[in-house]
């Protein structure tokens, strides 16, 4: 994915993010934030047994964190816990500069380059950290 394509995907998802709203009852809530920056996002997840039926979010964060949340939501709805964890780990591989499964990440490949700048990796990873926490809680 070239820089301009990546930028476009990020901006689209930042300006019109998927499911930015407070959910109805029956959603698992998890907060995700990081120490070095000020992004602060609440994720709400609706489970159907082992499957993710819906995710919404609220919060204040930079363009990278918001767009990354939006893309993650689109990509994870419908997945099982195990599939979601696999996706999350591929994402971390990408932001750590390792080889990763491009097919699995789809649009989320747009962070491959940007995560090399300063602290931006932390911003891109933020929603995935939250999702990982939520899944691990469920698996306990």
């Amino acid at each position: 994915m070239n820089t301009e394509e990546s930028r476009q995907i990020i901006m689209e998802n930042y300006l019109n993010p998927q499911n930015r709203n407070h959910p109805h009852d029956g959603y698992q809530e998890v907060n995700t934030r990081n120490v070095s920056c000020i992004d602060n996002i609440n994720l709400y997840i609706k489970w159907n047994n082992n499957k993710i039926e819906d995710i919404t979010f609220e919060g204040e964060a930079c363009a990278v964190s918001i767009s990354s949340t939006s893309i993650m939501i689109k990509n994870l709805i419908g997945k099982t816990k195990e599939e979601a964890l696999e996706y999350i780990h591929e994402f971390y591989k990408m932001t750590n500069g390792k080889t990763f499964n491009k097919e699995m990440l789809q649009d989320a490949c747009c962070y491959e380059e940007i995560s090399k700048q300063g602290n931006r990796k932390v911003c891109a990873n933020l929603p995935l950290k939250g999702m990982e926490k939520a899944i691990l809680e469920k698996l306990k």
Binding site: E60, C62, R120
Partner: protein, 398 residues
């Protein structure tokens, strides 16, 4: 002003995060390297020339600090690791034994975490009450507002001289006068004040003052706890160990040294203290009044230019220090900082450790430009030019 003294300023970098920490002039770096290279002994220990030189240099910094803030006695100057440690020592070592449940401490919502959390803990521990002096429309502390919240239970006012988000300069002398008329102690967090204007503890009549070397051209890991001697005598050491004791045999026979050594347990940050002395000499040479005026002029220049930009919302238009806090409409502060970083401009985004301020200002996060004397009008022109093009910011923030 004096840019040639700062090695980093030879690079293509514009440093506007001086409230977080200042750059270091070469003389300070050299002074510390000289200690490590030529007389790296411990202080107050050895009976040999090298160690004697360490003592001399270390104690010379104490003299310099005393003069710099116009303290009455040398014993009133204690070296700590920074403002945070100084404030914790004041709260835990002096006020914890003194205050009782029901006593009140006055703070403001724009204080730094280091001047809030030690008090929160003490409130939880001892049942003292914390109250906030209301801020006016400009987020200033006024004497009228202070009068409204002082009660017979008020024992302490603990505030910053200049806050690190709003940059307002508090009327410290008037606050101390009113406080003392009511038998209230004043703790001054000088982290942002001492580096930027003349602070005279005798004239202000503050009871305690805390500040850090690293925000005033000195090294990290060094700071000062100043206290009036008669108060400092009652400050219980929170650290016990080598250097600060006279003798000890068993738990009921511990004899401690006199001030200030009693409050400086263990091996101190010797190179840091020595480097700090050089930083003070350096600032004195430029002159604190010149520094203050220079920052004031630069700030005015920046504010006047930013006011012309419709998409910039300045939080602290009215303020007298070198701190300018703003937001770009509909753009998250961190994205603005990342955008400027692409042009080697260093600014800070966030809540600047004043997490409870949002209740007063209504915004969580801001971009902060903080100026020091070595910044220039050209640097401000550069910054403003980059901020003036809204579309460019949106396009390049990621």
């Amino acid at each position: 002003m004096n840019r040639e003294d700062f090695p980093l300023l030879k690079e293509e970098i514009i440093y506007f995060d001086n409230s977080a920490t200042s750059l270091k002039p070469k003389c300070v770096i050299d002074k510390m390297a000289d200690y490590y290279t030529n007389y790296p002994a411990n202080a107050h220990r050895g009976d040999y020339d090298l160690s004697y030189k360490v003592d001399q240099e270390y104690e010379e910094t104490r003299e310099l600090v005393k003069k710099f803030i116009n303290a009455k006695y040398l014993e009133e100057i204690v070296f700590t690791s920074g403002t945070t440690e100084s404030l914790n020592m004041i709260v835990n070592g002096f006020f914890e034994p003194l205050l009782e449940a029901g006593d009140e401490v006055l703070l403001t919502t724009s204080e730094h975490a280091s001047n809030i959390l030690p008090w929160f803990r003490l409130a939880n521990k001892k049942g003292i009450k914390l109250n906030y002096i209301p801020l006016d429309n400009n987020y200033y502390v006024t004497i009228d507002n202070l009068k409204k919240v002082i009660t017979p239970q008020t024992k302490v006012i603990s505030i910053a001289g200049i806050t690190n988000v709003i940059g307002d300069i508090r009327p410290v002398k008037e606050i101390c006068k009113l406080a003392h008329e009511n038998n209230v102690f004043v703790v001054l967090d000088g982290a942002q004040m001492v580096p930027h204007c003349k602070v005279d503890v005798k004239d202000l009549d503050v009871d305690f003052l805390a500040f850090s070397a690293h925000k005033m051209c000195g090294p990290t890991g060094v700071g000062v706890l100043y206290g009036k001697k008669e108060l400092l005598e009652h400050l219980e050491p929170t650290l016990l160990g080598g250097g600060m004791n006279e003798s000890f045999d068993n738990p009921s026979e511990i004899y401690l040294k006199e001030l200030p050594t009693r409050l400086e347990a263990g091996t101190r940050n010797i190179s840091g203290v020595i480097g700090f002395g050089e930083a003070i000499k350096y600032l004195e040479k430029i002159g604190m009044d010149n520094i203050h005026k220079r920052e004031h002029d630069l700030r005015k220049y920046l504010i006047d230019k930013l006011l012309l930009l419709k998409h910039i919302d300045i939080i602290n238009i009215e303020s007298d220090s070198g701190i300018v806090t703003f937001n770009v409409s509909n753009i998250f502060s961190q994205d603005v900082a990342y955008y400027l970083n692409k042009y080697n401009i260093c600014v800070r985004a966030g809540n600047h450790c004043a997490k409870i301020l949002k209740s007063s200002v209504g915004v969580n996060n801001t971009v902060r430009v903080s100026i020091y004397f070595y910044n220039t009008y050209e640097e401000i022109d550069n910054l403003v030019e980059l901020l003036s093009d809204y579309d460019k910011i949106v396009k390049e923030m990621i």
